[in-house]
Each structure stands twice: as structure tokens, then as C-alpha cells.
């Protein structure tokens, strides 16, 4: 299933990107002769019949070769790995921070749903679900970086991770930005999952059997409540990844998002294809892992439809 999905994505990407426009134009200058155009096309291999290009491409993919950029002639695979140095920490740190914010906030919002705290939460989370992540970024830069000069306004150290402190420092504000937006989204799901559990009879039964509230929640509530949350978390992780792509633009970070945008602008078809393939693989693998995890935790799901699919359809 996973492989089938990926094969389909590979084909669609190839077809769509080959109609994208003629990448030869990115190489040649104005006033190039027909011979020069033909030479450039031959160098890129776009003069061959489309099915030959396709099979050559599949062959490359099977040997984990994503090809060479049309514009800067770097190996796309190497370039992706190099840029993950920025995007991966950004995504993982933001995701971790957003979970750390969302779980307690969402839990208390459900537990105290009848108080001012719960009501305020509902209002604030409506806002969190509607604010575009890049606007939060712009505002935070204006206040925290340009106004109070607490953080750098953008960029990433040229030395990469040789100086971890400087690298982390430049990632701090982007991480906070994504965590705020992703966290408020996640907190809503945590709240509804918790509300679901708190209303369950088995929790009341456990309390009646003499367990304390905390024990009952830990023994019976968490295991039930975490199952739908896992697929939400997987989706959130991919959303955070995409959020990172946008936020890289706000903070001028040289990550995967930057590579994708420049690639689209310069019609650099191997780069765009490489980044999108990598993202697709990531998203599919995350969904797959979530499915497996859910089945491990909840035996009832083992011979049913994918839990991931159901939750997404309801969300």
C-alpha cells in the first residue's frame, strides 16, 4: 500500500513537472541560436522521447539518485540532505514545543471546561486556528527582533552547525512562531479527546471501584484517548513540516522550503521534483507509522479500517 502510493506519486509528479515548461530556457540566454538550444536540450536530456526520460528517471530513483539541478548543477539528493540541516531541527523542535504547550493546555481546558479558563481557551483557540503562520512570524519579528532586539530577525549562520549555540539562536524565533500556531491547533484536538474520555462510563466505574482520579485517568483514560491523537499528531507533524517551508521564507532560512521556492521560480525541474518527492515520502511514512502505532496500542483497530483515514475524514 505504501509502495503503491509512492509509485503513484512519483508518476504524477513526473507527468506534471514535465509539462511544467521548457527547462531549456533556464539555461540559455536571450538570442541563443537553434544549435545552442539543441545542445542545451541534449545536455539536460529533454530531447529524448518522454517514455525514455521516464524510465531513465525511475532507474535513477531506484538507485537513490535524484538527479542534478538544472541551474546550479549540484546533486539534488546531496542538496536536500544539506538543507535538512535547517529544516529538520526546525520541524522537530517546533513540533516538540507545540506538543509541550498543547497537551497541558488542552487537558486543562477540557478538565475545567465549565470555568473562565475553558471559555477563554475556546475563544483563543478559534483565533489560533485562523491566524496564518507567516503573519505571526512577521509580527514577532517586528516586536521581538526589530523592537526589543532579543532575537536575530532572520538568516542562518554560514558555518552551519559548527557553532550550535548560534545555529539554535537563529532558529529560536522561527520555532516559537510555528509552535504557537501549531500548538493552538493541536490543543483543540487534545481538548476534545480529553472531553471524550472524561465523559466515559469506564472512568466513572474505575472511580467507583476506588481508584483515585489520577490513577483512573492514567490506567484507563490515557490509553483510550491517545489513539485518535496519534493520527492527529502524524498529520500535525506533516503540517509543521509545511509550516517550516513557509516560515523559512519569513526568516530567510536556507532550508528545503527555500530550495523549493527557488526551484519553482527558475523552473529547476529536478530540484522541485526532488523536494516534493522527499516531502511525499515523509508524509506517507508518517501516516504509515501512525497507523502501526495505533494498532499496537489499540487491539480493536487491528482488523479494521485504517484509523488514520477515519480521523482525517471526521476532522
Amino acid at each position: 500500500m505504501l509502495l503503491l502510493a509512492f509509485a503513484l506519486a512519483v508518476t504524477i509528479l513526473f507527468v506534471v513537472l514535465r509539462v511544467l515548461g521548457n527547462p531549456v530556457f533556464a539555461l540559455i540566454s536571450v538570442g541563443a541560436t537553434d544549435a545552442e538550444i539543441a545542445a542545451a536540450a541534449a545536455r539536460l536530456g529533454v530531447d529524448r522521447p518522454i517514455h525514455e526520460q521516464f524510465f531513465a528517471y525511475i532507474g535513477q530513483l531506484l538507485s537513490f539518485d535524484l538527479g542534478q539541478s538544472f541551474t546550479n548543477h549540484l546533486n539534488v539528493g546531496d542538496e536536500i540532505v544539506r538543507r535538512l540541516n535547517v529544516t529538520l531541527p526546525l520541524t522537530l523542535l517546533s513540533f516538540t514545543l507545540s506538543v509541550l504547550i498543547a497537551v497541558p493546555v488542552g487537558f486543562f481546558a477540557a478538565w475545567k471546561s465549565r470555568t473562565w479558563y475553558g471559555t477563554t481557551f475556546s475563544a483563543v483557540s478559534q483565533l489560533g486556528g485562523a491566524i496564518p503562520v507567516f503573519w505571526v512570524g512577521i509580527l514577532l519579528v517586528a516586536v521581538l527582533s526589530l523592537g526589543w532586539r532579543l532575537f536575530p530577525a532572520g538568516g542562518f549562520p554560514r558555518t552551519d552547525w559548527e557553532d550550535p549555540g548560534a545555529a539554535l539562536y537563529s532558529l529560536a524565533l522561527p520555532v516559537i512562531t510555528i509552535a504557537i500556531v501549531a500548538g493552538s491547533d493541536l490543543a483543540r484536538y487534545v481538548r476534545s479527546a480529553t472531553l471524550d474520555i472524561l465523559g466515559q462510563q469506564y472512568l466513572r466505574a474505575a472511580r467507583a471501584a476506588g481508584q483515585s482520579f489520577a490513577t483512573a485517568l492514567w490506567r484507563h483514560g490515557v490509553r483510550n484517548g491517545v489513539v485518535p491523537l496519534i493520527s492527529i499528531l502524524a498529520i500535525q507533524l506533516s503540517t509543521t513540516f509545511v509550516g517550516a517551508v513557509i516560515i523559512e521564507r519569513v526568516f530567510a532560512l536556507p532550508g528545503l522550503g527555500d530550495m523549493l521556492l527557488v526551484g519553482i521560480k527558475e523552473q529547476d525541474f529536478p530540484s522541485v521534483q526532488g523536494v516534493l518527492l522527499f516531502s511525499t515520502a515523509l508524509v506517507l511514512v508518517l501516516g504509515f507509522i501512525a497507523d502501526v502505532l495505533q494498532r499496537i496500542i489499540d487491539p480493536r483497530l487491528r482488523d479494521s479500517l485504517s484509523g488514520n483515514r477515519r480521523t482525517k475524514a471526521l476532522a
Partner: protein
């Protein structure tokens, strides 16, 4: 004996009724606030078709001015009136919202119904295709389509609409399958109604109400996605003043002219929240039997 058993029979609990009433009350407030916010933006967008304070390309104003009597929202770095741009931005946001929801509805319902009535392997093929499309983040899908068709308003609407169609198709398939198993469908079939007739007369009418709320929620999502695309430079090119592109242009001058970086964002958030509240309020109107998922 009976006396000791009787009290354990649960009486109709008053609590759920009270909470249902509270939920309804909250919903009607949501509906009112949502309608007000959405209506405000809609009016601004409609007025911009006939009248704006300045022409869009009127660069006669001073640069980066704060709000004044002449320029209600100030001017940008080329001296263009920001209020004019905000109004045009409202029109664009509405066009994106309605356009992509329309595409999502048409493509999604068609695919969903096809999957519901088709043979097993067609259904499987469509369903697994939808699985991939749904797992794929909207914005990446949109970027792919923009890469293919070039950055324009049409590309953005098409891309966001197609991304939304997958979710609608999935919902349609689920509901339609359920409806097709009903006795009245069997009755219609035995009395000689064809598949298309059954779909139109029975299935579509039952599926439609369950789709109103998801479609309304997609409106807000579409507006946000278009803003992101425009911010990244992949949305509609000038002279279309998308709020996302206004924010991108205002980013470099945020300290000199903060209003330009704040107002488009406020309108954006107001429209998205407005539509979301409207959708939440519509849930009761559209389908009285449904319970809130949140």
C-alpha cells in the same frame, strides 16, 4: 424487591438537555458573529467592484504614509493607497473562497458518487487515490499545481479547490454508500429508476446537507492557503492586491509603516474566523441530528 430496583433505573437526566440548550445558544451567537464578520468583508469586497478611494495604480500619494483623512489606511512604498488595496484584497479573498469551494464541491461530489456506485476495483482505485491526496498537505499540492500552471489567481483557486475535493469526495462516498443501502433506494430500483435517477433523486439530496459544514470550513481554509501562496510569491501576480502579498511587501518596512503589516492580517483573520463561526452555527441548521465533533 421492586422498590429497591426502581431507583436504579436511570431517570431522563436533565444535564444533557441543559447542555444541549447551552450549545444551541452558543451556536446562535456564533452564527450572528460569523455572519457579521463575513458580511462586513463581503460588503467591502462588493463595493470594491464599483468604487475604491483611488485607482489601484495611482502612485501620486507620498510613500509609506501613516493613515490620514486622505489615505484611510496609509500608503505603501510606491505611494499607492492601502485602503484601496485592502478592498481589492477582500474581493480576491472572496473569489478564492467561493471558487475553490465550488471546484471542491463539483469534483469531490462527482468522484465520491462515482466511487460509491462503481465496481469494487474502481472504488478501491478512487479510494486509495483519495488517501494519498488527503495525506498530502494542501499547500504542497497547491505548489505543485502552481509550478505546473504558473502563478496566477486561477492556478491558486484550482489548486486549493482540488486539494479540498479529496476530503469532500471521501465524505460523499461514505454518506452515499450508507444511503444506497437504504430500503427506499431498493424500492426505487425495483420500480425501475435508473442509477443516475437514484443518485439525483435520493442520494444527492441526502448527501448534500452533510457537506454544507465541511464546505463552509473549506472556505476559510482556502482563504488562508491563498494568503500563504501569495506570501510565498506563488499567488496572483500584481495588480491583484492579495492580502498575503500585501503582508509580504509590508514585511521589510514593518517598523516604518506598521499599519501596512497589521491591517491585511486583521482582515484575513476576521474573514477566516467569520466563516468558521458561520460553519459551526450552520451545523445545527444544516443537520439538526448531528452532534458537535469538537
Amino acid at each position: 424487591m421492586t422498590a429497591t430496583i426502581l431507583p436504579t433505573v436511570p431517570a431522563p437526566a436533565p444535564a444533557p438537555a441543559a447542555s444541549a440548550r447551552r450549545r444551541r445558544a452558543r451556536r446562535s451567537v456564533n452564527l450572528a458573529v460569523g455572519a457579521a464578520l463575513f458580511g462586513l468583508i463581503a460588503v467591502i469586497g462588493l463595493v470594491s467592484v464599483f468604487w475604491t478611494p483611488f485607482a489601484y495604480d495611482d502612485t501620486t500619494g507620498d510613500r509609506l504614509q501613516p493613515p490620514s483623512l486622505e489615505h484611510w489606511a496609509g500608503t505603501d512604498r510606491l505611494g499607492r493607497d492601502l485602503f484601496t488595496q485592502l478592498m481589492i484584497g477582500a474581493r480576491l479573498a472572496l473569489a478564492v473562497g467561493f471558487g475553490s469551494v465550488l471546484i471542491a464541491a463539483i469534483v469531490g461530489i462527482t468522484l465520491g458518487l462515482a466511487a460509491a456506485v462503481a465496481r469494487r476495483w474502481v472504488d478501491d482505485a478512487i479510494s486509495s487515490l483519495l488517501d494519498i491526496a488527503i495525506a498530502f498537505p494542501t499547500l504542497l499540492l497547491a505548489m505543485l499545481i502552481v509550478a505546473w500552471r504558473g502563478a496566477s489567481l486561477d492556478s491558486a483557486i484550482l489548486a486549493i479547490g482540488l486539494a479540498g475535493a479529496a476530503v469532500i469526495a471521501r465524505l460523499t462516498r461514505i454518506t452515499a454508500t450508507r444511503v444506497l443501502a437504504m430500503d427506499y433506494v431498493t424500492a426505487a430500483r425495483t420500480s425501475g429508476t435508473g442509477t443516475l435517477g437514484i443518485l439525483r433523486r435520493h442520494v444527492l439530496r441526502n448527501v448534500w446537507p452533510t457537506l454544507i459544514v465541511p464546505l463552509a470550513l473549506q472556505f476559510g481554509g482556502a482563504v488562508g492557503a491563498e494568503a500563504s501562496l501569495s506570501y510565498l510569491g506563488l499567488g496572483s501576480p500584481p495588480p491583484n492586491a492579495s492580502w498575503g502579498r500585501m503582508l509580504q511587501e509590508a514585511q521589510s518596512t514593518v517598523l516604518v509603516a506598521p499599519t501596512a503589516a497589521i491591517l491585511p492580517g486583521i482582515l484575513l483573520v476576521a474573514l477566516i474566523i467569520g466563516v468558521n463561526l458561520l460553519a459551526d452555527g450552520l451545523r445545527d441548521v444544516a443537520d439538526p441530528t448531528s452532534r458537535s465533533i469538537r
